[in-house]
């Protein structure tokens, strides 16, 4: 009796575990110039979940830029790694866009020195 139940239980547990881990795919990756000052890392993420993977709009991505700007007020966000991925959990699909980067505050441009200014005149 035990002999008959065990393989079935094992098989269904294996299938259940496999389904819980989800099937993940990476759809696009992009990166911008990486700064030398990487002391202020940033992270922003937006996601959207739908039954059977039927999504009615892509508006979920809109807050991503605003979120990065919020974390770096009046600064420059650079070295942005944008990653778009999707995970499928049997009948539910989650789309996720993750952006990581660095907040940089550039020093104000130095006024031209007298020697430079003289060179420009001549």
């Amino acid at each position: 009796m035990t002999k008959n139940i065990l393989p079935g239980t094992f098989l269904s547990s294996a299938i259940g575990l496999a389904a819980l881990t989800g099937c993940t795919s990476l759809q696009s990756v992009s990166v911008t110039q990486i700064p030398s000052d990487r002391s202020r890392p940033l992270h922003a993420e937006v996601s959207n979940t739908a039954l059977l993977g039927i999504h009615f709009s892509n508006d979920f991505i809109e807050p991503l830029t605003a979120e990065l700007m919020r974390q770096c007020p009046r600064g420059r966000v650079t070295g942005i790694l944008t990653k778009q991925e999707a995970s499928l959990y049997i009948i539910v699909q989650t789309r996720r866009v993750v952006a990581t980067g660095f907040c940089v505050y550039d020093p104000p441009p130095a006024p031209p020195s007298d020697a430079t200014a003289m060179q420009e005149i001549h």
Binding site: Q33, F56, N58, I61, R74, I80, A99
Partner: protein, 137 residues
């Protein structure tokens, strides 16, 4: 009329449209100089799913010929592509000039480029969306 009812019911869910995001790319955001004014550019082109068109034609005409023709056409559209095939692959070329029209100062930052589709079974809308900020003052 009753003849078309199953056909309509079968394809009714697809009329809502299924949105797909193919690619998302985010560029540098510079909030240090001037005021940022957001803008959005949206260009689109109609895409066609040949196989689905063949299936619909076959159901409507009660003949397998349309599906067979679609199967013959399909190998000519083979290859890597994003979304459905379109009639004009240059529909997104206007994006750069449109950005300059929206932002005459040409100081642009925080560009987010998206490649999207909305599928309506046999046809689709193939989009390129660019959102960004124009630096003014």
């Amino acid at each position: 009329m009753q003849r078309f009812l199953p056909l309509f019911l079968g394809f009714a869910p697809s009329l809502v449209g299924c949105a797909t995001l193919h690619r998302a790319q985010l560029d540098e955001i510079d909030g240090q100089y001037g005021r940022l004014v957001p803008f959005e550019i949206h260009v689109s082109e109609m895409g066609v799913n040949t196989k689905a068109v063949g299936q619909i034609a076959s159901i409507a005409m009660k003949s397998a010929r349309s599906s067979q023709i679609a199967s013959l056409v399909a190998p000519f559209q083979y290859g890597p592509k994003t979304g459905n095939v379109v009639y004009d692959d240059q529909f997104a070329d206007v994006v750069a000039t449109t950005i300059l029209e929206r932002c005459p100062t040409a100081r642009v930052t925080g560009l987010m480029s998206l490649r999207e589709s909305t599928n309506y079974y046999a046809v689709s809308s193939e989009y390129v969306t660019v959102r960004g900020y124009c630096i003014v003052d």
